[in-house]
Every structure is written in C-alpha cells, then in structure tokens.
Amino acid sequence: MRCSYSCRSIEHVLSRRSFLGGLAAGFGAAAGFAGRPMGALAADLQRGGYQILMIYLAGGSSQLETWDPKPGTATGGPFRAIETSVPGVRISELLPKTAQQMHHLSLFRGLNTSEDDHGKGHYLMHTGRRQAPGVEHPHLGSLAARFLAPERDPLPGYIHITPGGGGFSGKDAAFLGPKYGALTLGNGNPPVNADRPGSIGEAEDLARHQLRMRLDRRFDTRRRTAETEAYTATYDQALQLMERRDVFDVTKEPTRDQDRYGSHDLGRHCLLARRLLEAGATFVKVTHSNYDTHNENFDFHLEQVGEFDVSFSALIADLAERGMLDRTLVIVNSEFGRTPNINQYYGRDHWSKAWSVALAGAGIKRGSVVGATNENGTEVVDGEAHGEALFHTYLRAIGIDPVIDEFSVNGRAFQIADPAFYPIEDLLA
C-alpha cells in the first residue's frame, strides 16, 4: 500500500521524530510547533520579496554531460571535465561559461528519485510528491503564486516560458484554485487579451472603467465581501497589466544582451525571464526541450547543453551583478538523469537513481557541492536524498519551513511538502 501522506498530521511529525530518534533533537525539538500561522506567514513571505526562477531541462538531461562528469571511465562518454571558478569543483566541458559562474551555484550530486517515468518524474520534481490516485498536489509555481506573490500583483504569479503553444491553465494549481495556475507564454509571446480591442481608444476604455467603478461602489457599499473586492480588484490588475504589457516584449532589451544570451529560443526565453524577474514577477519557469536522448546522447547534449551554457551563464551573471540573486532562488532541474550505461545507439536511457541538479541564489550556499556518486556514477555514495527532500529545500531557501509553518486553503489545513521528509541542510546557506 502506498501512502500519499497528503494530510497535515501531528502523527506524521511524531512518527518521523521517533524514527529519527536522537537526530531530531538538534532542530526538531527546538523548532517545536512554533510554526507561523497563515496570516503571519503570508506577511513574512511578502516582506521577504522572494522570487523563483526554474530552468527545466525537459526530457531528462544527463548528469554526466553536465554537473557530474566521469571522464575516463566506462560510463563517462567522450567529454572531459573542466575546472570552474571554485577550486576543486569540476563540471563537464560542455559548460565552459557556466563553469566561470560556479561560485554562485550549488550542485547537488546525491539525488535519487526512483522514478523513471517522464510524467511521474515531472510531477515529483514540480510538486515534491509522488503521484498518487485521488489527489493532486500544487506545483511549486502555483505555491509561489499563492503564497509569495503580492496579493494584487498585476503580473501573474506563475509564468512559464516554453516553445510551443501558450495560454492560461489552472491545472498545476490543483486544490489551490485555478487563479494560481500557469500563464504560459508560448514561444515567448505575450498573453492573450492583453491588448485593448482596436475599436476602443484609451480614453474610452478609461471612461467605461470609471463608470464600472461607480456602479461597483454603489453595489459594494452595502454588500462588500472579500469576494466582491477581489473581483473588482482584478480589473485594476488588468489595467496595470495592459499598461505594462511591454514587460512581455523581449525585443525591448538591448541588442547587446540579445546577442549575449544567444540567438536561439532558449536565449530569448532566458532574457525574457530576466526582464520579467526585474519587473517583479514572482515565479518564472523556462523550459528547454528536449533532452530525451535515447539515441545519440552525445551529439544532442553537445548542441543542447551548448545553448544552455550560453544563456544560463549570462542569466546567472546578470542576476548576480544586479544584486537579484540574494532574493531569487534559481533551480535547474529535469524529470530525471540519464543512465551511466551507454546503449547501442550511443544513447543514454532514463535514470533516476543517482543524478544531479544545480541551485543558486536565495537561501542557497554558494560555490558548494553536496552529495557524491561513485566512480562510474552508478550509485550515490554520499549525502543521498530524494526529490521530496529537494522540494523541502526549495521552500526553506525562500523562508518557508514546510515542517512547521501552517498552510490552509478555504479553511482546510494542508501540508505544503511531504511530511515524511526534511530539507537537505547542507545546501542551505
């Protein structure tokens, strides 16, 4: 029987405590149940002003051709490892520019997610939970939109930039409600309906809004509720968003930066992400497709990681230079890694037993490596942790204690992260 542990339960905490025994005494006992209730938590989080950038390498990127190279071994493949800006830390030679930004990054090489299915791996790496029947958990982007984003933020709280189609979908938000779903900017295009209809001038638009507000005031004076207020506020947001719709237009960025980020989709999308984060967007995810290299793993990674290296290194350098890294959590992840074993088509297959992610920014140690795999990369030999623990780590990095802080939606309490796990403390600053 698989348990989804979807409820917030003191028994869960207690059973983990007794399981951890003496270990828990360190922080568990000290923390007690002094978690912040929702109101205090929301205020703290909004004051914190945290933002999140997720770069998602769709299809399963190879840890061996990125963060955890094993040159000169049977599994290592043709690429070398190179020195980085952190003495002693070596990564794949496919990442020469990123290597120069290593002092901003933390690598986690001890990830074991035991999930080799694309859909389930994707779910785990976005929600911090195993997929279980009868229950859907919100994605990190939706949690950010619900709990980090300022309440009346004109920018949608969860923005996803990806090749392909765009639109708005509430699916990722699960029980949080569709408002906290993803606004997808397909191919980096601006959201729909952000432009005034051609037949209506700016003055006329303003006039009709003023009339609407007078009507609202008359109705709301006697019947004001949180819901009517939230409804009328969405029009203020809409007007602000229309006013600022240039924020979705990456061509407004200097040509020099457009060149620096690369003249490919990922370059444009990463630059758009910078633009949005600078404008205050709470959560931006950029998807880079596709790393599912069952055939010709090395050619594909040469090309894909090459694009990634240019865009990502420029983005990290810019966030650091602009002082944004202190408040922005950066996550580079995927649904799983790829097999150390090289198959007959020079490909690598799905592999979740021992792989890596890169983190940077808010709450994350800089220039460090946590966890290690063995010589061939077939097993984690030090600091092994699961995807659920990684999710706890993201939350702690932005000031949420998923173990003790209290969360509720419509009067129902819930656990924001799987209560059977803890954060990876070594990654946290």
């Binding site: 339960s9 029947p133 209809p197 006329e204 409804y231 947001q237």
Partner: protein, 576 residues
C-alpha cells in the same frame, strides 16, 4: 426502499408530483409547512431582525439564476416588476420549475458537481448532458438518479452508457472513486483516512475508506478490443485489506460496507473457480463474476438506510439555493464540524427522504422560505454576528457559475433572443407542411418550448464551453476552488467573443439602444436587460450624462461602453 420501475419514470410529471404528494401525506399532518418550519429554526437562532425582504428585482434575478441558470429577458423583468399580485413570487418559482431551463440548469449543476470539469475520454459529453437533462426534465428521484449513475459499468449499449461517465472518466480508479463517492454522496472527504484513521477528524475511520473501496477493488478498466469502448471488468475474488501505517503488524480485512452499516458478506462461492464466473477472465475478455461486489454499491449507498446520503443531498441543495451549506465545507460532515443548524439539517434530511427524493418539490420549499427571499443587503447597523453567512439572516452572495455567466451575458446583450427568434422561425418552417391536426397535437405543442430550448442551446453551447475554460475549475477540482483572476478580467474587457456581442448588430441590445434618440430613454431598457431592474434616479442621470458627454455622433460607441460597464460590475457578476 421504494420500488421503482423504469416505466414509471416516463410518466408525466404531474402524475409524479401528485403521487409524491400522496406519499408524503403524514408529513402534511404536522400543522406547519416545511418552509415555515425551516424559517422558524433559522429565526430562533437570531437575536436581531434579519435583512429586509429582497426587492422584486433582486428576487426575480436570484430565482432565475438559481432555477433557470440565467437572468430573465427584459420583457419578463418588466412584466414581473409591474405585476401587482401578492402571490407573484410563489407563481414565479412554480413557473420556473416547469420550464426547460430548470432541467438545463440542473444539468449544469450536476455535471459540474459530479464530474468536476473532467474531460471526455470515455463517454461523449453530449450523451452525458442528454442523460442529465432527461433525468431533471422527468424529475427522477435523487436516489434513483444516483443508482443509475453508480450501477452503470460502461458495458451498456452506446445509447444507455452515459451514466457510466462518472466512473469511467475517473479511469475506474478505486482510490479516486472511493474519495469522490465519499465526498459527493456521503459528505465525507475520507482521503486522509486512507493510510490510518483520520488524524484530526475522529469520525473518519480507515475502515470507512476501505469499506467503500471494497465495492470497487475487484473491478478494473477494460477496453473492448472490438468497439474500443471502456467498461468495468470484475473478478470473483480478491479481499480488501488494510493496515494503519502506525501499526503495520495488524492487517484488517473488510467486506463492502457503507460507513458503520453492516458489511455486505459475499454469498457462498463455488469451490471450482471457473464456476464463479459468468465469463471467466482471459486475454481481451471482459470477466463477469456470478456475484458482483460492484453491483452492491448503488443499492447500498443510495438507500434510506444511509443517513449520510439524505443528509448530504439535503445539505447540497440547501447550499445551491442559500450559497452556503449548513455543513460547510460540503464534504466535511463530522462531529467537530457540526452543522450551523443541526435540527434544521435533520429536518431537511428527513423531509427529502419522506418526499421520496423529489428534488423539484424540495427546491420549491427552499425557494418559499423567508430565508431565501431576504435581501443580500445587511440591515442598517447589523452586528458582525448577524451578517455571518452561517446565520442565514442576510441572503448569500456568490459569483455566477461559468454557465450562468455565459448565458446571462448572452441574454443581457440580446444574443439569446436573436437565436430564439431564429429557432422559432426554423421550427415553423420545418412544420409548415404539417396538417392542421398534427400541428394542433397536444404533445407537439407541449414539446415546442423544449425543442426551441434545445435548438438555442445547440447553437450557443460552444460559447458556454469557452466560459467554462476561463471561469471554471481545473480538471478534477470543485468549482468552489475558483477565485477571480486577472485573466478573467482581461477576457471580459478585451476578448473578441464578448466584444462581438457588445458591438451593435441586428436586434441586439446595443443596436436597440443606439437607435433610441432621447438619451433619457436609454437607461430603463439598459437596466432591465442587464440588471433585471429599473434604474434609480441617480443611475438615469448617470446614463444621460455619459451619453451627452460623448455626443450624438458617438452614440453607438457610448452605448457599447455603458453596456460593458453594466455587465462587468459586481452587481452583474454575482448572484445576490
């Protein structure tokens, strides 16, 4: 349990109502009507006077939205407002309950409730909607309605398998079904009792979860290789067992069981395995056991023996009308979350059972209460306690559902009327060649409003689906999870669909208003069409001043802006 033969369901509604009236004769002996008893229980808990009765306009709009799923036409609004009869509110409720729009409204309500915006992978949406519409048009008793849904396994002929959508669109997943059957029919979200007794809710036991799951554990989704249709296959054996994660050493076994009622023991099964099957399991074959645990589900759950069943539907229908459940949230019925009015919920649960689950008659009683007919404006100086929604001293306020919003917008802006006229003309043309006798056939005349409604619906339903995308919950979530969002505001402000309705064309609202020369004559038809009431003096003056500020040459544009402001203001967006 009341015997129910399928043939009886097709009987005219009048007969059914009569029959249910006779059956509930003992209840009528209690000297007070149900709606009066409801009001006394609500008012007994108030220590200050409740809100004043709703105005005619408020009541008209509310009753239409709740029972017809849309706002009234301006002609209906004018007629109701001008009707001097003191009985007009009762008459309106009675009339609305007999219109095709009532069945359509219930179709939407129960679609959203039962499927929670799930997709249409296994059963065509049109079949499911037709099934729901027919059930509510015939006023099928609720327990029978639920049995039809829970006994369908998808193996029925195509024209009869629509009710299986509830199970099939959930992939026949036993955990998902256990959770949703508990939530929707028993008022209990047992999700947290899957791994152990609910840690926070003493009443929710792990045994309840697995008792329900035992009805489903032997089933699996089977796809017929010939027709590619999905259906349930079932095995003749397999026990449902569970352990608490806190005490893994003890394994419990349970037979199918509804909450704390007696488990339903399997009959003695033949020793020989093959003899336990009508159709034995094999590759590409749908196994059918001689004794089916799944078949026990519908009659055991939708039964007079299950208090939680009548309690849950009574609470859900109450919430539909009053915008809030007596037990709230609707799926957390337990001792530590008691109903706001325990005696009232008992009364409602007993009444709906005594009424043989006649939904229409039950809603009629709710619509007759003073509680339903109050204003949504709190009385002057009301205390915070009095305006608390669970007091029901002030009428509730709720955003329109996606379907209500779409139909109300199309009604307000004249889209529905244009299509209704077209549908009537089309039907007349279709029947032009009929003999006089055929044309005067009583069934044909009685059917006409239903056919017109269906034709208008078919033409405009595509627009409604667009609204469900933007204003509905995401797949597998209740609509109560929806909050107002900037995307919705952008859709209503700039989206091409709403713009096309606002542009003057044919006989739509803005075209009619733009043709009125006297600015002082615009406000009344505008307000009647959009807000189902007449404007105040202040509002009339506001409209005149808006039109005059834009000048006569900008009349069409100004009218469009006025209409937009009215359909986006909160008075329109909410059912109040």
């Amino acid at each position: 349990m009341r015997p129910m033969v399928p043939g009886a369901l097709a009987a005219p509604i009048v007969l059914m109502l009569l029959a249910s009236g006779l059956r509930s004769a003992p209840a009528a002996e209690a000297e007070l009507s149900l709606h009066e008893r409801i009001d006394r229980l609500i008012e007994a808990k108030l220590d200050a006077p409740p809100a004043a009765p709703a105005t005619d306009g408020e009541f008209l709009r509310r009753a239409y939205l709740d029972l017809a799923g849309t706002i009234p036409s301006p002609e209906e609004a004018r007629a109701f407002l001008d009707d001097p009869s003191p009985y007009k509110r009762d008459r309106l409720v009675d009339r609305l309950l007999e219109l095709p729009s009532y069945a359509r409204r219930m179709q939407y309500v129960f679609d959203a409730t039962l499927l929670e915006r799930r997709g249409d992978q296994h059963v065509p949406r049109a079949d499911w909607e037709a099934f729901l519409l027919r059930c509510f048009a015939e006023n099928v008793p609720y327990d029978e309605f639920v049995r039809r849904i829970l006994e369908a396994d998808g193996s029925e002929p195509p024209e009869q398998r629509a009710p299986a959508k509830f199970i099939l669109e959930r992939g026949a997943d036993p955990d998902l079904l256990t959770r949703d059957i508990g939530r929707l029919f028993l008022g209990r979200d047992l999700q947290c009792a899957q791994c152990h007794d609910h840690p926070l809710i003493e009443d929710y036991k792990q045994a309840h979860y697995y008792g329900l799951r035992a009805f489903l554990d032997r089933t699996s989704l089977f796809t017929d290789p010939k027709t590619s249709r999905a259906m349930l296959a079932e095995k003749a054996e397999g026990e449902t067992t569970f352990q608490s994660v806190f005490r893994k050493s003890v394994t419990h076994t349970t037979a199918p069981r509804i909450l704390d009622l007696e488990p339903i023991a399997d009959p003695e099964l033949p020793e020989n395995e093959a003899e336990r099957y009508e159709v034995a399991p094999a590759k590409d074959v749908r196994s059918i056991p001689k004794y089916s645990r799944f078949d026990q589900l519908a009659p055991s759950l939708a039964s007079d023996d299950v208090d939680a069943f009548s309690r849950t539907i009574a609470n859900r229908l109450w919430a539909l009308m009053m915008k809030r459940g007596l037990v709230h949230p609707l799926d957390l019925d337990h001792a530590d979350n008691p109903p706001s009015h325990p005696e009232l919920l008992d009364l409602l649960a007993n009444s709906i059972r005594a009424m043989d689950y006649d939904i229409k008659a039950f809603l009629r009683e709710l619509a007759r209460t003073r509680a339903y007919r109050r204003s949504s404006e709190p009385p002057p100086g009301a205390s915070e306690d009095l305006v608390e929604p669970s007091r029901f001293a002030v009428a509730g306020l709720e955003p329109l559902s996606p379907e209500q919003l779409a139909w109300s917008l199309m009604q307000a802006l004249g889209v529905v009327d244009a299509h209704r006229q077209q549908a009537e003309a089309d039907l007349d043309a279709l029947e032009a060649d009929l003999c006089d006798l055929c044309r005067e056939d009583r069934d044909r005349i009685a059917n006409r409003p239903w056919r017109i409604e269906q034709m208008v619906h078919d033409r405009l339903a595509g627009n409604v689906r667009g609204f469900v995308q933007i204003f509905g919950a995401s797949e597998g979530q209740p609509d109560s999870s929806v909050e107002s969002s900037v995307h919705q505001a952008l859709f209503l402000s700039n989206g091409p669909l709403v713009q096309s309705w606002l542009n003057p064309s044919g006989t739509n609202l803005t075209a009619r208003l733009a043709a009125i020369e006297d600015p002082a004559a615009v406000a009344e038809p505008l307000y009647l069409a959009v807000l189902s009431r007449r404007p105040s003096e202040e509002e009339r003056a506001e409209v005149v001043s808006y039109l005059e500020s834009r000048g006569a040459d900008q009349r069409a544009a100004a009218v469009r802006e006025l209409a937009w402001a009215l359909v986006t203001c909160s008075e329109f967006r909410f059912d109040h």
